[in-house]
Amino acid sequence: MEDVRQLIVRRAVKEIKDGMNVNLGIGMPTLIANEIPADFHVMLQSENGLLGIGPFPVEGEEDPDLINAGKETITEVPGSSFFDSAESFAMIRGGHIDLAILGGMEVSETGDLANWMIPGKMVKGMGGAMDLVSGAKRVVVIMEHVNKHGESKVKKSCDLPLTGQGVVHRLITDLAVFDFTQDGMVLVETHPGVSVDKVKESTEASFRVSSDLISQ
């Protein structure tokens, strides 16, 4: 794993508390599963119909009837349950998932998220992302702070089509952590060696700096 992603993943795992039911999105969020403390009782939900995702199977024990939402072969943990897709999204839409961690393409200062389509490119579909961001109790987005051209992905308003409006509770990037509150976007944490000025320079969105800012 490259350093930037590792930094984000290591910070993101701290969002998971003992006893939570959690949905991790496809891609970088999936890597968080490996970092959850071994003594935590956490159930990971897979929206295709499993609460209690286990590790990948050992070679030879792959079961085509047991996959995660990224279509990868997986196992189930003791105490897990299988269910159909309507039940799965009842659980999501009904607010029973404590935390959803998703990847992002853009986040706005009002907590809008865009992560499912780029106009002009092939549209693959939103899968369960729109349901997750509007249904989970808490939505955390993880992404790199700037794109490969050095432009801020943390914007005044999203240019890309939205996945959800005002749905993000917390954003974790490779520079900082932000919360979205009734009073707007707040910088709550900077990563080691990152100054508030550096965060301001790299961010198009307007935000205030928390009086309890954690800087390492």
Binding site: S46, E47, N48, G49, L50, P55, F56, P57, V58, E59, E62, D63, P64, D65, L66, I67, N68, G70, K71, E72, T73, I74, E76, F82, F83, D84, S85, A86, S88, F89, A90, I92, R93, D112, M122, V123, K124, G125, M126, G127, G128, A129, M130, D131, S134, G135, P161, L162, T163, G164, Q165, G166
Partner: protein, 229 residues
């Protein structure tokens, strides 16, 4: 019970709407898809979470140019899909996965529409009725009913009660309720009374045609493993 997959799909005509179970390549009715390929029926509207891959699952019908429209939540695994979509040959209606599941469930349960927060403030909400509940906006989504529903289960009894296995359940139980005619293919059919009534996932009332398939291939889309300790 029927013996011939060809007979089971013989009355599916050009232009029919089919609701098809499965998630990715997991829990797809692979024998019924072959039978549709062989029947040559075309201009199908297919409601299914995904559209297979280039040479497997619903991708087979796509490659054979039998599909006019797909209603799905995620279609990213298929190059032929991309070509037909970009050339305008194929219509696509993308629906959030939970909304798709609930639209099928609602259709099968006789509920013509429901309100959901999913998609509020996004392109999905365009043209849809918005209603406020407890000060929050919700959009109206409609139930889906198909001319036929195609289902894959693990086991059935002779009455048509169905049991699914692990995550191969996915959309199948909802799909089973939402067809005017529901056709189920299974790996094993046992005598009536051999399945525990407490363990039935789909009561046989929803199933009009039942077939046992042989030699399931069950392709794996992404084989991921860890090293043994």
């Amino acid at each position: 019970m029927m013996n011939s997959f060809a007979d089971a799909v013989a009355d599916i005509k050009d232009g029919a709407t089919l609701i098809v179970g499965g998630f990715g390549l997991c829990g797809i009715p692979e024998k019924l898809i072959f039978a549709l390929r062989d029947s040559g029926v075309k201009d199908l509207t297919i409601v299914s979470n995904n559209c297979g891959v280039d040479d497997w699952g619903l991708g087979i019908l796509l490659a054979n140019r039998q599909i006019k429209k797909m209603i799905s939540s995620y279609v990213g695994e298929n190059k032929i899909f991309e070509q037909q979509f970009l050339s305008g040959e194929l219509e696509v209606d993308l629906v959030p996965q939970g909304t798709l599941a609930e639209r099928i469930r609602a259709g099968g349960a006789g509920i013509p529409g429901f309100y959901t927060a999913t998609g509020v403030g996004t392109a999905i909400a365009e043209g849809k009725e918005v209603k406020m509940f407890n000060g929050k906006p919700y959009i109206l989504e409609e139930g889906i009913v198909g001319d036929f529903a195609l289902v894959k289960a693990w086991k059935a009894d002779e009455y048509g009660n169905l049991v699914y296995r692990k995550t191969a359940r996915n959309f199948n139980p909802l799909v089973a309720t939402a067809g005017k005619v529901t056709i189920a293919e299974v790996e094993e059919i046992v005598k009536q009374g051999e399945l525990s009534p407490d363990q039935i996932h789909t009561p046989g009332i929803y199933v009009q045609r039942l077939l046992q398939g042989q030699d399931y291939e069950k392709r794996i889309e992404r084989r991921t493993v860890r090293k043994a300790n």
